[in-house]
Amino acid sequence: MTGPVEFLLFLLGASLLSGVALHLSDRLLRSVGAIGAVARVLLAEGMRRGAIPIALLILFAGLLALPDLLSENRIVEYRVQSLLQYGQAWISVVLMTLTVLLGCGSLSEEIAARRLDVTLTKPVGRGRYLLGKWLGLVLIDGVLLAVAISLLLVLIPRCAGEDHLDAIPAADRVVEPLLPAVTDEQVADFLERGRVTDPDRWDSLSADEAKQRARGALSRSARSIQPGSERSYRFEVPPRLPEGSVLALRPYLGRSTHRSIGAVLEILSGDQIHGAIVGNAELTEIPLPAGPVEQPLEITIAFKGAVEEGVDLPAILWAGRDSIRLRIPDDSLAANIARSSLMLWLRLAFTAALSTVAVTVLGFPVATLSLFIFLVTASTGSLLVIDGSTEVAHAHSHGQEVPRSFGKEVLEALALIGEWVVVALSDWERHDASSTVSTGILVPGSDVLRCLGVIGLLWTGLSLFAGRWLLRRRELGGASP
């Protein structure tokens, strides 16, 4: 996809652009007083000690190599999707690593080499000093992120090829069908019948769990279509459908149905009828005509049966979240990726704050290791569950009385803390919008605002406050004779 000369030219161009942007950031920091002075020193440290240039080369070389690595994939859509997904992941990994190493390394060396002693005898204050370090890291991350994302946007059309520019995803707003709510009476009836027909299954569940499962089954059933019948779905859409709007279907045709088995559907939208053949768990997109539509938009799907004669399909179920929905083009890929990058920048800002705080108390090796463990755990969501907490939670869900004792109280408190950590970390994962962008789904502005509030303001603010508190209580100057 790119020759060696092109590769080097891109690498040089991106590096030069980063250099210019970092220089401009340096000039910008000159107007921020003492905090800006501390940030500028961090910037100089990163540049002159080679951390930033090396990170730049790794970042850009990795991005430039991606199209070639993905060229084996012959389906253009998947190739572009992979480039977007892996590209954003690569940017995230390199910048997180740079932030942790530069953040922890800079402060720990200043403490060890007693540079901090001299700095803190000036009227800068420990909190402002920490803020300066954080600002420097955030600026470096911002500049590198902006250049890396720009490079990724340049690479996307090259990866797709001139003839397949339409394979580049935009930012579609997803509209789920409006479904009637499942009532408590319906749930009760369903459970009553279930306990008669399949007592082993339903009696083994707790009351809450049984209700939850019954509600899910009823909801799926309300959307499913029997062979030879039809069902109408209503969607709340804008008054005018733009070009490129589609009805996206991923039907579930039964557990034992092979992928090659197709079902014939007839779709009625307004006065237009489309015929479609859909595969089991395969994504099928049916284009919708652009123009004004009635509110809400009603789409009727008729299930005509299997494509092959003699094959018996029990029903079409819409099982997953992406089983039936409308995708309406709403924004460009560039704008979508910009929103996603802003969320990444906010997460980097939090990582920067956490780095400076951790090294205040832990020292470089332990702080770095702890931060990497945190980042890996938060990104993968793979958390160890405390055995005791599950026991308590399980007993509660079954409505049983747990005997009270000090040990149990402690365990319950631990379970609550664990739950809080899980929720907090799921927030971290939730604000990673890279897969949303790569599948062409709109990252809503509300998600960015939520990320700003939770991670950018709350988490980062608390970390910086904790760092200031800790640094103010730390003795410097060697602390022993």
């Binding site: 220089h23 107007s31 001299v118 009227p123 800068v124 004779p481």
Partner: protein, 344 residues
């Protein structure tokens, strides 16, 4: 300020300290503790210290006597375990006193990747000095410490002596009222040592207070008005240098132009009076004086030398007739122009 317990300052307690002094501390105490908070070392044990305005005060003592710990407590880097401290009328670490204070650490611990000019500019920024004042002071200080020729070289290329010089320059960037110098002549050549000693004298003449800690007793004897000798974390003796060093049972005569005959007559007269003469010998020059003469001659003959060139003249802004003090040079707003090189 009173210290009720380690690290916690209780500002509401009425202080008995004199705020007009540059440094005033009473019963200052520092106990280092182990991980379990058990007392490990009593580094400073009931030190009373006062430094008046315009005074050069020396802290003397062997290694581990508590000099550096005392200085770090005065700077707010270590928290006292007991006692009361005021620096320029404020508790240690208070920005109001920090803005009028200069500090030269024992070791040169500056950013190795910044140049001399950038280093001074950075510390000037921390004091909130305006760009024009900063530019002026950075140039003046570089000239004063003889580093104009090496101003744009990174500090990692500086020799130890050059780093001490830049350290001294950074301590003076804010035109401080109080200067705390920890081993100021350590690592300096005799020229640098002479310049620093002269500089301290000139600063005193311009009303600055200086607290110096050093092992080099000859230097301290020359520059200090008063000294305190520490041992075991306690002050063993404090007073003016002349008072501490005077020996009532010894007398020295220094004469010039005396002939052998005159000397013999004088000696006989002294012996007749019942006074013992221990030694009569020709006066010797000090090695420092001879060294300085040789270097001065080489410089006058145009011999080139890398690194430090000249210097030693007090920067004009540090004199009473200079161009304004720290308050005059402070900038509340942003910097519109830039004096030093960019950092990146």
């Amino acid at each position: 300020m009173a210290v009720a317990r380690e690290g916690v300052v209780t500002g509401r307690v009425v202080s008995t300290l004199d705020s007009s002094l540059a440094i005033d501390c009473r019963n200052l105490r520092k106990v280092f503790r182990d991980f379990w908070l058990r007392p490990r070392v009593v580094a400073v044990d009931g030190v009373d210290l006062s430094v008046a305005s315009g005074e050069v005060f020396g802290l003397l003592g062997p290694n581990g006597s508590g000099k550096s710990t005392t200085i770090k407590m005065l700077l707010g880097l270590l928290f006292p375990s007991g006692g009361e401290v005021r620096v320029l009328g404020h508790p240690p670490g208070d920005p109001r006193s920090q803005s009028r204070l200069g500090y030269l650490p024992e070791e040169s611990c500056f950013y190795p990747y910044l140049s001399g000019r950038e280093t001074l500019d950075f510390y000037g920024r921390l004091f909130g000095l305006s760009p024009s004042v900063r530019a002026e002071r950075v140039s003046a200080l570089l000239a004063m410490v003889g580093l104009e020729g090496a101003a744009d070289r990174p500090l990692r290329e500086y020799s130890k002596g050059m780093q001490r010089r830049i350290g001294l320059a950074q301590a003076l960037i804010n035109d401080p009222e109080l200067l705390i110098l920890d081993e100021p002549t350590s690592g300096l050549d005799p020229i640098g040592t002479r310049q620093v000693k002269d500089l301290i004298g000139k600063l005193r003449d311009n009303g600055k207070s200086v607290l110096v800690s050093s092992h080099l007793l000859a230097d301290m004897e020359e520059i200090c008005d008063r000294v305190a000798i520490l041992y075991g974390g306690r002050i063993q003796e404090v007073g003016s240098v002349s008072k501490i060093l005077v020996r009532d049972d010894r007398l020295e005569w220094l004469t010039s132009g005396a002939t052998t005959k005159t000397l013999r007559l004088a000696r006989e007269a002294v012996v007749e009076a019942g006074i013992e003469v221990e030694e009569v010998a020709p006066a010797r020059r000090r090695l420092e004086d001879r060294f300085l003469e040789i270097v001065e001659e080489a410089r006058d003959s145009g011999t080139e030398n890398s690194g430090v060139t000249g210097g030693g003249k007090l920067a004009s802004f540090l004199t009473k007739e200079g161009d304004g003090g720290p308050a005059e040079g402070r900038s509340d707003g942003g910097d519109s122009s830039e004096s030093a090189e960019g950092s990146s």
